[in-house]
Amino acid sequence: MSRGASLRAAVLASVLGLLVLPARGEQPAGDGWRPFTATWTLSGQRSLLPTEGERPASIVHLTGTLTSTSGEGLGRGLFGEVIGFDDGRRLLAGRAVFTDEHGDRIFCVLEAESIGTGRKATATITGGTGRFAGLEGAFSFAWQYVVEDGSGEVSGRAVNLEGRTRRGPSARSGNGP
């Protein structure tokens, strides 16, 4: 194998190694709440419609990885998908769904100021499937940036994402995994 090919093989091996590093464990508090902090990098599409105001209305569909930076309230990381309608003043309706490596899901309702750099949002967890069945909780975050490339392609990063989760009463009584 040539030196160049060896280097490229090493790059691939490093990527694989990075992906399978073990996660750190953390115990929940006595009341069952598990706090967490995370970042969330998203990209996707935004369709715009002019309004009488300064900002256009928009429909957004964003996807990206939420990575925990501390705590285990949402596990180590999840794939998140958001769909929402922004009327130019605020996010009128938004839903998010997070999926883990087994396909188990967490469902959320989003409430937010208009989507843009520096703006804030909150999410309420409304349910889940599999190991997230009966999960309850909430989190909030701010958009560190939201940029658009001119063709409707949007990219953004949510930081200061903080929240907590716990098993709901029905899940704690024995239905959960």
Binding site: G4, A5, L12, T41, T65, T67, R76, G77, H102, G118
Partner: protein, 468 residues
């Protein structure tokens, strides 16, 4: 081991790699579709690197497997075939063919040879200098490749070098690679020379890192100008053209120009069309024009006036092959990003660097940012997926934000040759037939390594001095 056995071993190896990744437990934080798409993409890239399959074969196998295995929906898997940037490349190929066919390319080539043609190295430098000068007016390096490609092609053909094994290395392979490598520098020199640069500036602004046209130029000036001075020579040394000194070439070019006489009607049509296309590409940002539509309009004029015929179009089989493999890889890489894989990788890497001194973290972040481009088929997509993540991680580790910000943004261009598919601006040269896949990977690695080393060793102190 015979060549056939080597190929068989390579094919079995990449298949084993793909299967092993596919069945490896999905890492926490990723979904099965993201992981399985990574398995397909990694095996595809590995198969090209290992010589198991040509890039077109690997790409069409990959898209077929992606859809039939249910990893991607057909609509998502084929979306690259309607992508404007990819169509721009296809049309630029055909326009370049018209420039060569009508004789204008040869005339341009003779003009450049008359001025710089005493050596092949001189021609290489002329390509780098021309690109550096025109770059700030072109917001797209892909469009700029559409200008440089016909020039390099004409110079090569004028020097008797064609995309065949007997003559391609006379000077064509060297000049064509120069026309690809120059874009990695000109795009870093000017804020407005690459679509991803202003987007990166906007992301940086959200972290208090404000970039203007002037501050960008000042920051890039030293590392990029040194690279422009050295890189044509470096490529010349590691990939020498067979024809080096051409002392009689300027005189021969003058004679050839005299023999060609005045511009023919077709040359005038192509020249006028090309000048208008270049002007509109340059003004595209201001006038909000679509670059691909400009190219289509130009191609339409060339077809309507008979400069190009349907028979000419029918003979461009290479264009179809290029269109297919690039559209497929572009889509697979884009979907890998949409499924959260790229962001996840960036976050995991950042998390692994905690506790390092900022200088070490800075160097690792820059190098990792560059190496991750093996997974990308677009520089702009790379900026959007990873620049903010890496800048945020570096900032938390104490790396000065302007230093890291500029280093990452310059790296986005400096690494544009790391693979043949690393930038849409490479595709015209990759499809030209002058360079093999192996040569493109080798030269791309050398060029990228040189640019990044220069950035780290020379650019870093300069950036610490000027960008605070």
């Amino acid at each position: 081991m015979t060549a056939g056995t080597r190929t068989l071993v390579a094919r079995l190896g990449v298949m084993a790699l793909g299967v092993a990744i596919w069945f490896w437990p999905v890492p926490e934080g990723l979904t099965p579709p993201a992981w399985h798409l990574f398995a397909i993409f990694a095996a595809t890239i590995a198969s090209v690197i290992a010589g198991a399959f040509p890039i077109l074969t690997a790409s069409v196998l990959a898209v077929g497997i992606s859809v039939l295995s249910g990893v991607l929906t057909p609509a998502k898997a084929y979306s690259g075939f309607a992508n404007g940037t990819i169509l721009l490349i296809v049309v630029a190929f055909l326009v370049a063919r018209a420039i060569v066919k009508c004789g204008l390319g040869a005339r341009l080539g003779h003009l450049v040879v008359k001025l710089f043609g005493r050596s092949t190295l001189g021609l290489g430098y002329s390509i780098f200098l021309l690109d550096a000068v025109i770059a700030p007016a072109f917001p797209s390096d892909t469009a700029r490749s559409g200008v440089l490609y016909p020039l390099a092609l004409s110079l090569a053909e004028g020097g008797g070098s064609r995309p065949d094994e007997a003559t391609r290395k006379k000077m064509g392979a060297y000049l064509l690679f120069c026309s690809m490598a120059t874009l990695s520098l000109s795009s870093a020199l000017w804020l407005t020379a690459m679509a991803g640069n202003p987007l990166g500036a906007e992301i940086g602004k959200s972290m208090g890192f404000n970039i203007s046209f002037g501050s960008w130029l000042l920051a890039s000036l030293v590392p990029t100008l040194i690279a422009i001075a050295v890189l044509p020579l470096l490529i010349y040394k590691v990939f020498p053209p067979e024809v080096k000194a051409t002392p009689g070439a300027p005189a021969a070019a003058r004679k050839a120009l005299a023999e060609m006489g005045p511009l023919s009607l077709h040359e005038k049509i192509v020249a006028a069309t090309f000048v208008v296309m270049v002007l509109l590409w340059g003004l595209a940002g201001t006038l909000k024009l679509d670059l691909t539509a400009v190219a289509f309009l130009g191609l339409g004029v060339l077809l309507a006036t008979g400069v190009l015929t349907l028979k000419d179009i029918g003979q461009q089989g290479d264009v179809l092959a290029t269109f297919m493999w690039f559209a497929i890889l572009y889509t697979l890489s884009g979907q890998l990003n949409a499924l959260g894989f790229m962001g996840y990788l960036g976050q995991r890497l950042g998390g692994a660097l905690g506790g390092l001194p900022w200088v070490a973290a800075y160097a690792i972040l820059v190098v990792a940012y560059v190496l991750l481009h093996y997974l990308f088929v677009s520089q702009t997509a790379h900026v959007l997926a990873l620049f903010g993540v890496f800048l945020g991680v570096g900032s938390q580790l104490g790396v000065p934000v302007p230093l890291l910000g500029f280093a990452l943004l310059f790296s986005t261009s400096y690494m544009s040759t790391i693979t043949p598919q690393a930038s849409s601006a490479n595709v015209l040269v990759v499809g030209s037939g002058y360079l093999t896949q192996g040569e493109l990977y080798r030269l791309g690695t050398i060029t990228t390594a040189f640019n990044i080393l220069l950035l780290l060793l020379v650019g870093t102190p300069w950036l610490l001095f000027v960008a605070r």
